[in-house]
C-alpha cells in the first residue's frame, strides 16, 4: 500500500519566479542601463577591473557577515574589527615587526574579538544587536588608541603590494576576495559545521533538539567572521597604504545590505554566499556607474538606501508568503 502525495504547492507562479530571480534581474538591468549610458566605458576591461577592485574589501567583509546571518544573527562590529586589524598590523610593522607576523597578530585580534562576540551572544545570551554594538564601540576606541587618533602610513613596500600589486593585470585583492568567498562557500556547503549553521539559522529549537550544538555553532560563526573581517581590514590598509581608526566604517552597513540583497536570490530566503556576492556586485556597479555618470554623491546615497529598502522588502515579502 503505497501512498502518493499531492505535489507540494501548485507550480511556480510567475510572481514567485520574479521574486526569486528579481535581484539578479535587477543587477542585469543596472548593468544594462549603465552600459547603455556609457557604452564606451562601462563594460571595458579597465572599468570592470575597477569595480571588482573597489568591492573586493566589501566582498570579504560581506562574506563574514553572511556567515553570521546564516546562523540567524548579525554583527555590527565587523567594520570596526576590520579597521582595528588594519591599524594593529600597521602599528606593528611601523614598530619593526616583520610583515607576516604583524598580519598574523592582526588576524588574531580579529579572532579574539569575534570570540568575545560569540561568547557574549551564544553563552551569555545577549542579543546580537546589543553585544555587537557594544563591541563595535569599544573596538573603535581601541583603534583610536592604536593609531593615536591619526592615520598610520609609510607601511612596508611588501605589505602595500598585497593591496596594490597586480597579477595578470588584475589587482591582488580581487583574487584574495575570490579565494575567501570560495572558502566560505565551501564551508557553508560541504562541512558539518556549515550545515549546522544553516540548521541553527533555520530553526534554532529544532536544531538544538536534534543534537546540533547550537551554542558552539554560533560561537564559531562569530569567531570566523572576526578573523575574516580582520583580513579584510588588513587588505584595505595595504590597498590604501595607510590605516586609520575608521577607514572601514562604511563596510558594516553595506555588508548587511549585501547579505539582505543576497537573501532574495535563493528559494529559501536565507542568507547565502552567492546571493551576497550578487548584492556586493549591485552595490559596486551602482556606485561606479553613478560616479561615471557624474551623479552627485548625496543623490547616490539616497539611491543606495532606496535599493536596500527595496531588497529588504522583497526579501521579507518572500518570507511572508510561505
Amino acid at each position: 500500500m503505497s501512498t502518493t502525495n499531492a505535489p507540494a504547492k501548485p507550480g511556480r507562479s510567475l510572481g514567485r519566479t520574479l521574486l526569486q530571480g528579481g535581484t539578479v534581474i535587477a543587477l542585469l538591468a543596472l548593468i544594462g542601463f549603465f552600459f547603455a549610458m556609457r557604452p564606451d566605458v562601462f563594460l571595458s576591461f579597465t572599468n570592470v577591473k575597477n569595480i571588482l577592485f573597489q568591492v573586493s574589501i566589501l566582498a570579504i567583509i560581506a562574506s563574514a557577515q553572511t556567515v553570521v546571518m546564516v546562523v540567524g544573527d548579525f554583527d555590527l562590529s565587523l567594520g570596526a574589527i576590520s579597521s582595528l586589524a588594519g591599524a594593529v598590523a600597521a602599528a606593528l610593522m611601523l614598530g619593526g615587526v616583520p610583515m607576516w607576523i604583524a598580519i598574523s597578530v592582526a588576524a588574531g585580534v580579529g579572532l579574539l574579538i569575534g570570540l568575545a562576540n560569540g561568547f557574549l551572544i551564544a553563552y551569555l545570551r545577549l542579543s546580537a544587536f546589543v553585544a555587537t554594538l557594544a563591541t563595535m564601540t569599544s573596538v573603535v576606541g581601541l583603534a583610536y588608541l592604536v593609531t593615536a587618533g591619526t592615520t598610520l602610513f609609510s607601511l612596508p613596500e611588501g605589505f602595500n603590494n598585497l593591496g596594490q600589486g597586480k597579477f595578470l593585470n588584475v589587482p591582488l585583492p580581487v583574487y584574495i576576495a575570490i579565494v575567501i568567498s570560495l572558502i566560505i562557500w565551501s564551508i557553508l556547503r560541504f562541512t558539518t559545521l556549515g550545515r549546522s549553521w544553516s540548521a541553527t539559522g533555520g530553526n534554532q529549537e529544532v536544531a538544538r533538539l536534534s543534537g546540533v550544538n547550537v551554542r558552539r555553532a554560533r560561537l564559531l560563526a562569530f569567531t570566523l567572521a572576526g578573523v575574516v573581517s580582520a583580513i579584510g581590514g588588513i587588505i584595505l590598509a595595504a590597498r590604501l597604504g595607510s590605516a586609520s581608526a575608521v577607514q572601514g566604517s562604511d563596510n558594516m552597513m553595506f555588508s548587511v545590505a549585501a547579505v539582505f540583497l543576497g537573501m532574495t536570490v535563493i528559494r529559501s530566503g536565507m542568507a547565502n554566499l552567492g546571493g551576497t556576492m550578487v548584492g556586493v556586485t549591485i552595490i559596486g556597479v551602482m556606485s561606479n556607474g553613478l560616479n561615471i555618470l557624474g551623479v552627485n554623491s548625496y543623490v547616490q546615497q539616497v539611491v543606495t538606501g532606496l535599493i536596500i529598502i527595496a531588497a529588504v522588502t522583497l526579501s521579507s515579502l518572500k518570507n511572508r508568503e510561505r
Partner: protein, 512 residues
C-alpha cells in the same frame, strides 16, 4: 546503522513505563501518581480532560520536566532524562503541533539532522546522507523529493519528514500530540496507514488526542487520566466512547460555590451571528446579574469569543450590543471599555498586570480617565481607588505600593479584577478566572463573582473545569470547534451532558 528490522514482538514487551509520577508547579499539583505503560508495537491513546495532566506527563517522559518523585523504566531498567536530548538519544521522541522541521534546508538534511549527519572529518558525506534519508522515507512509504526545501512541503508531508527524523534517531517510543489537528480527512487516512506500519515494525506510539473517534479507529489500548492521576488502562476493543467520557468525569464537587439566583430578566448583552477567525455563527444573550459560564475543549474558540467581545479582536460578521450600544467590528479595547465591557484575561502574568509595577499603578492603568482631571492624573484618586479595591477584594499585600510581581497568584488575579472593576463595567468577561490559584482564594473569587452579579453586573466566564462551570454559573454555554454546541441551566447540568457537548455529541444517548 538505523535499519528498523525488529520483529514484531507478540509477548507484550514494555517499551516505556512511568510509575507513580508526582509533579507540582508553584504549589499546584499537575501530576499526583500518574502511570503509563506503553508496549512495543502498539498504538496507545492517552486521554483526559483539559488539565488532567496529559501534556505534563508527556513532558516528563521526554525529559522536558523532571518529576518530583516516581520512576521511569525503559526496557527493564530505571532511567532518568536530564533534558530532551538525553531522552531523544534514548529513543523517546515527542512530535508536537508546532513547526518541527527546519524549513530552509532540504528534506534529506532535515531527516539526517544533527547527530545523524554522516560525516568524515567534518565534511558531510552527501551520498550516505541521502541514502539514509531515503531509507527512512521508504519505511514510511512516503514519496517526498529529498532535495526539496522542507518549508515548501504541505503540512502532512512536513509531519512525515519529522517522523522520518524521529525514526532516523532510532526512536522506539513516538509520542504524538494532536497530530491530526490541521489535516484533511485523506491526509488523516494516510497518516494512520503510516502509524500502523510503524507499529507493525515494533515502534511504540503514544497518541494524545481529543478526537475520540480517531482513537477508537486507530489505537490498541487507552489510558485515561483525571486530576493528575491515571484512572484506568484498557484495551480499546473492550471499551466505547461513552464509557470513556464517563470515566473522564467524576470529581467531588465540594462546597466552594455560593448560592445562585441573581439573574434578572433584563438583557444586558446581545450577541447575534458573530463570526471570528475560528468562531462561527455565535448567538446568545446574557442578562443583568447573570453569571454565564462558557465551556469547551482547548481550541474550541472560547478565548477568541471573549477577545472579540472585549474588543481585542475583530469580528467579521454579526452584531454585539451592550445595553443600547452596538460595538463596531474593530472597536478596540478602550471603546469596548467605554461601552461597559471589561476583560480579565487568561494569562494574568503577561496580559493582566505589569508585574514590576505597584498595585496602585496597575489599578490605575485601565482607569486613567477615572483618576484624572483636565489631563492630569490625580495621585489622591489613585490611592483612593486602590484602597477601596484592596479592601473589597481582600487583596493581601503590604500596601498599595507593593510590586504586583511579589504577590501570590491569587492576589495577582484579584489585582487584575480590581483594575477592571474600577471601571464599573456592565459586562465583566473572565478567561479562566481561577487558573493556578489555591482553593481558598478560589472560593473567595467565586464569592466575589456572585456579589458582583448580585449588584447587577453581568459576568461571562470561560473555564476548562466543568465542576467550576457548574458551580459558579447560572447558565452554561458549551462551544465545540468554533460554534455553540449546547446550552444548559447550571442547576440541571451534569458533567456527562457538558462533556458530551464538549465533544460535539448531542445528549440523546447520555443517560441522566
Amino acid at each position: 546503522m538505523n535499519a528498523a528490522t525488529t520483529t514484531v514482538d507478540s509477548s507484550h514487551t514494555i517499551a516505556l513505563e512511568a510509575r507513580d509520577i508526582f509533579k507540582h508547579f508553584d504549589g499546584v499539583h499537575a501530576l499526583s501518581g500518574a502511570k503509563l505503560s506503553v508496549r512495543k508495537g502498539e498504538i496507545h491513546a492517552l486521554l483526559g480532560e483539559n488539565g488532567a495532566g496529559k501534556s505534563t506527563l508527556v513532558k516528563v517522559l521526554t525529559g522536558l520536566y523532571t518529576p518530583d518523585s516516581g520512576t521511569i523504566v525503559q526496557n527493564g531498567s530505571d532511567v532518568e532524562f536530564a533534558n530532551v536530548r538525553v531522552a531523544n538519544r534514548a529513543g523517546i521522541v515527542a512530535l508536537y503541533q508546532e513547526l518541527s522541521i527546519i524549513p530552509s534546508i532540504s528534506v534529506a538534511e532535515n531527516i539526517m539532522l544533527g547527530e545523524q549527519t554522516p560525516n568524515r572529518g567534518g565534511l558531510v558525506q552527501w551520498k550516505t546522507l541521502r541514502r539514509g534519508a531515503q531509507e527512512q522515507l521508504d519505511r514510511l512509504n512516503q514519496k517526498i523529493p529529498l532535495g526539496e526545501l522542507a518549508g515548501e512541503l504541505s503540512p502532512v508531508q512536513q509531519t512525515m519528514v519529522a517522523f522520518a527524523r524521529a525514526l532516523a534517531t532510532n526512536a522506539q517510543v513516538l509520542i504524538l500530540d494532536e497530530p491530526t489537528a490541521s489535516l484533511t480527512d485523506t491526509e488523516i487516512k494516510d497518516l494512520f496507514a503510516v502509524l500502523r506500519k510503524l507499529r507493525d515494525q515494533g515502534v511504540a506510539i503514544v497518541y494524545v488526542s481529543h478526537r475520540l473517534e480517531e482513537v477508537f479507529e486507530l489505537c490498541d489500548r487507552l489510558t485515561i487520566m483525571r486530576n493528575g492521576e491515571t484512572i484506568i488502562t484498557k484495551n480499546v476493543a473492550d471499551s466505547n466512547i461513552d464509557e470513556v467520557i464517563s470515566t473522564m468525569v467524576g470529581r467531588a464537587a465540594g462546597e466552594l460555590y455560593p448560592e445562585r439566583g441573581t439573574a434578572t430578566s433584563t438583557v444586558a448583552l446581545t450577541v447575534e451571528k458573530v463570526d471570528g477567525r475560528k468562531v462561527k455563527d455565535i448567538s446568545f444573550t446574557a442578562h443583568k446579574g447573570e453569571v454565564l459560564g462558557i465551556g469547551g475543549l482547548a481550541g474550541s474558540g472560547r478565548s477568541e469569543l471573549l477577545r472579540i467581545l472585549a474588543g481585542a479582536q475583530k469580528h467579521t460578521a454579526g452584531t454585539i450590543t451592550v445595553g443600547d450600544k452596538t460595538l463596531r467590528p474593530s472597536p478596540g479595547v478602550s471603546r469596548a471599555l467605554e461601552a461597559g465591557i471589561a476583560l480579565v484575561p487568561e494569562e494574568r502574568r503577561s496580559q493582566g498586570v505589569i508585574l514590576s509595577a505597584t498595585i496602585q499603578d496597575n489599578i490605575a492603568l485601565a482607569n486613567i480617565p477615572g483618576v484624572s482631571s483636565f489631563g492630569l492624573v490625580s495621585g489622591a484618586r489613585i490611592v483612593d481607588i486602590t484602597r477601596r479595591g484592596m479592601l473589597d477584594l481582600q487583596i493581601k499585600a503590604r500596601g498599595p505600593r507593593q510590586p504586583v510581581g511579589e504577590l501570590s497568584g491569587g492576589n495577582q488575579q484579584k489585582v487584575v479584577l480590581a483594575k477592571m472593576l474600577a471601571r464599573k463595567p456592565k459586562v465583566l468577561l473572565m478567561d479562566e478566572p481561577t487558573r493556578g490559584i489555591d482553593v481558598g482564594t478560589k472560593a473567595e473569587i467565586y464569592r466575589l463573582i456572585r456579589e458582583l452579579a448580585a449588584g447587577g453586573t453581568t459576568i461571562i466566564a470561560v473555564s476548562s473545569e466543568l465542576p467550576e462551570l457548574m458551580g459558579m454559573s447560572d447558565r452554561i454555554i458549551i462551544m465545540h470547534e468554533g460554534q455553540i454546541s449546547g446550552e444548559v441551566q447550571a442547576a440541571t447540568a451534569t458533567e456527562e451532558i457538558l462533556l458530551a457537548y464538549c465533544y460535539g455529541k448531542a445528549d440523546s444517548h447520555v443517560n441522566n
